[in-house]
Amino acid sequence: MAATLTARGPARQRSTRTSGVTALHVLATAASLVAIVPLGYLVARAGGLGWGTVWDVLAQERTVALAVRSVGLAAAVALTCVVVGVPVAWLAARTDVPGGRWWLAVAALPLAVPSYVTAYTWVAAVPSVQGFLPAWLLLSLSCLPYVVLPVAAVLSRVDPALEDVARTLGAGPVSAFRRAVSPLLLPAAAAGGLLAALYVLSDFGAVSLLRFDSFTRVIYTSFRASFDRTTAAVLALVLVVLAVGFVLLERRARGRDDRWRVGGGVSRVPTQIGLGRLRLPALAALVALYGLALGVPAVMLAVLMLRGRRAWDAGEWLAAAGNTVLASGVGTGIALVLAVPIGMLAARRVDRWTRVVESAAYLGHALPGVLVGLSLVSLGLAVLPGLYQSLALLGFGYAVLFLSNAIGSVRSAAVQVPPVLEEVGRTLGAGGLTTWRRITVPMTAPGITAGALLVLVTAMKELPATLMLRPTGMDTLATELWTRTAVGAYAEAAPYAVTLVLAAAVPAFLLAQLVGRTA
């Protein structure tokens, strides 16, 4: 059996021993500056209004009430995702539930369905669906993969020796899981919950279709009706504050992050747990859950597609699909370049600066896409007019919005690389770069790939920033879908919705495979 060490003490030493500014600090700081471009824009806009007026907008009773509603919804969704997502991940990754690991692939699929499509199909099926309760349920179903996938990944990797040791020390199976394994799940579950909460804060499509007055919906309303960028900017600053609150909360929940193992031999593949009589009830629960999350949208999209009368243009459809892959691919590339140094630094350092850098990178995810879009219009024209409305700037926009999706995966992968291995590499005479290339990169590659896939699947669905930043004349699946739903041609929109879901299902499926394979 492998001798296992889950270190806490040495990590503390490590961070104090190698304190000071490193190249990684510089790289990560530069990367996070990119992520706060929208914040700079919001502050500049709000400042132009005069701080007295800003205060008037903020102090309105309604602003406070809306903030409370939005926080309530975001917290409810995040908690639901954690409470439901952890058992789902456990069933899929560790038990003999019928279907086994295929459930991981199913669990990734809600990522492929934009929440505005889920909401739309539900409203089409049951027109009276509206308000907090449906918004809470549907957004929870949409955000569930944010928790299920990382938790399943950890469960697949955890050395069962940990539980064995706990059992030999007298703990029962439940207690062994709770005391030896659940602390390892916490960081992954908390990071997933954070992404869910930030997604809800920035979501516009679902809440507007379900007629739930959230903060972001009101930002859009005031913006659309009066072309007023300033009030929207001031209100968005409140979202930034709320997002920071969630980031800090996650940090507390995550706790300390050193979860690497060293020891002779390799980690054993975790044993499968027999559910016994609970096998079928567990299966029924999974079927019911994903029937709601995927079945209802799938059936309604099919119904709408058959209801349509107009012919559709295959060339236009193909071009949109190609552009979607191209633009989201470019965005993913840029997001990775930014996320890798931030994630690595966050895994290795516990100093205050690192915390600031990592938190800053999450802000883009909490802001409405339309404001991120406007900030890049402003920045693009001022700094790089030649790149304005180019694929590169659009990709950059995606990176700002979805950087946070990659950071978590990179960080969770990097924390499992024992720093001692890198130190051994150094003492054997390898330079910093060689060590990084030969030890750190190979060991974190699955995490980086998972992060890339998560950015890819999210960027494919993005709409408001795409409308502003895409090259003039370029259509993606999301914009084609919007073009049709905006004029109420839902039947005509359905093929684009179906294609978008199928296209996004590919990275979602690969992501599930990756999670499954780490066992």
Partner: protein, 347 residues
């Protein structure tokens, strides 16, 4: 650890991403060269591709002038144009609403149009300072469900909708630009106080809120509510999609000069950044040609604004749908309307 097995997909993904990044940079470079090389008219269209795309294709066919179109939401494009200012690549702005055009005019972003272009359209349907022109008309109507409401029971004025018999039965889209234009018109014609009283009474009468006109139409059609305030062509859109015979929702035109009969326009303007390009003006003139006006009448079911072209079958003549006595440019005053809607709890 099994890192060697995992390295390969990661490396492949890395390669693919690097290739994409190169494409993006190459694409960006060639894109800006393209723009410099051919002089396509750059259009920011707040009207959807399905509506104006075929029309712009006809313009290119008949004139040989290429058009490069950026589709978006009317208000979001207006905000983008305000953000871009004098660095905007856009030459033409197409709007669904007179207020957005007037707002860009106030920001000094529009170039004046020549009198021969403006004079094609009645003075009511163009900007007071001659910087924008309406290309088609959109009348406010009352939707009703013909299963639940008898024609004889339909009100003549929008002011009657506060009657208790319609409690919980009327749908509005308070965030929608066309509804806000209507409320602005009410503030102008009846005064702030009367407008606030009406809205407050509507709220007290349990008015039902929807996100857009299509949602109101579908709710009336499904019988969820009996009445809805929206624009006339939403009915035609649905009728084209699923067939008129299967619809329970119908259009009802309120009495002439009632504020509920406001006729707003979708319009066009040449931006100051496009003032040098004669092709930009040609495009605006094309939108006012009888060919384009007939297209609006028969395809988008909006009112043609140029004399000599008839509206779609089943629509009353534009002269009979007499709206309230206001200048459409006044509809840009949305701040006051927003404040009012917020005060009564509708926004």
């Amino acid at each position: 650890m099994t890192s060697r097995h995992r390295r390969r997909p990661a490396a492949a993904l890395g390669l693919a991403l690097a290739a994409l990044l190169l494409t993006a940079c190459g694409g960006a470079g060639s894109g800006s060269e393209d723009q410099a090389a051919d002089d396509a008219v750059v259009v920011y269209s707040g009207r959807s591709e399905g509506l104006v795309g075929p029309l712009l294709a006809r313009f290119t066919d008949s004139t040989g002038v290429a058009v490069s179109v950026r589709y978006g939401d009317t208000a979001e494009l207006a905000a983008q144009l305000l953000e871009e200012g004098d660095r905007s690549p856009a030459e033409i702005y197409l709007s669904q609403d007179a207020g957005a055009l007037e707002r860009l005019h106030q920001a000094g972003l529009l170039a004046p149009l020549p009198a021969r272009t403006l004079d094609l359209v009645p003075a009511t349907y163009r900007g007071d300072d001659g910087t924008w022109v309406g290309t088609s008309g959109r009348a406010r109507v009352l939707f009703y469900n013909d299963d639940t409401v008898a024609v004889a029971d339909l009100p003549d004025s929008v002011l009657d909708l506060t009657d208790p018999r319609w409690k919980g039965q009327v749908g509005i889209a308070a965030a929608n630009a066309s509804f806000q234009s209507f409320v602005t018109a009410m503030r102008i014609t009846l005064g702030e106080q009367a407008a606030e009283e009406w809205l407050t009474a509507m709220v007290a009468n349990d008015v039902q809120r929807y996100d857009n006109n299509s949602a109101i139409r579908d709710a009336v059609d499904s019988g969820q509510i009996s009445l809805g305030l929206a624009n006339h062509y939403y009915w035609f859109e649905k009728a084209t999609e699923v067939g008129a015979e299967s619809l329970a929702v119908q259009n009802h035109f309120l009495a002439a000069r009632d504020v509920g009969s406001l006729v707003n326009v979708a319009g066009a303007a040449v931006l100051a950044t496009g003032a040098e390009d004669a092709d930009a003006l040609r495009l605006v003139d094309f939108l006012l040609s009888s060919q384009a006006q007939e297209y609006f009448a028969t395809t988008t079911f909006e009112y043609p604004l140029v004399a000599g072209v008839d509206p779609a079958d089943g629509l009353p003549a534009l002269a009979d749908v007499e709206g309230p006595d206001i200048s459409l440019g006044q509809l840009a005053d949305l701040d006051g309307t927003q404040a009012l809607l917020t005060r009564v709890g509708l926004l």
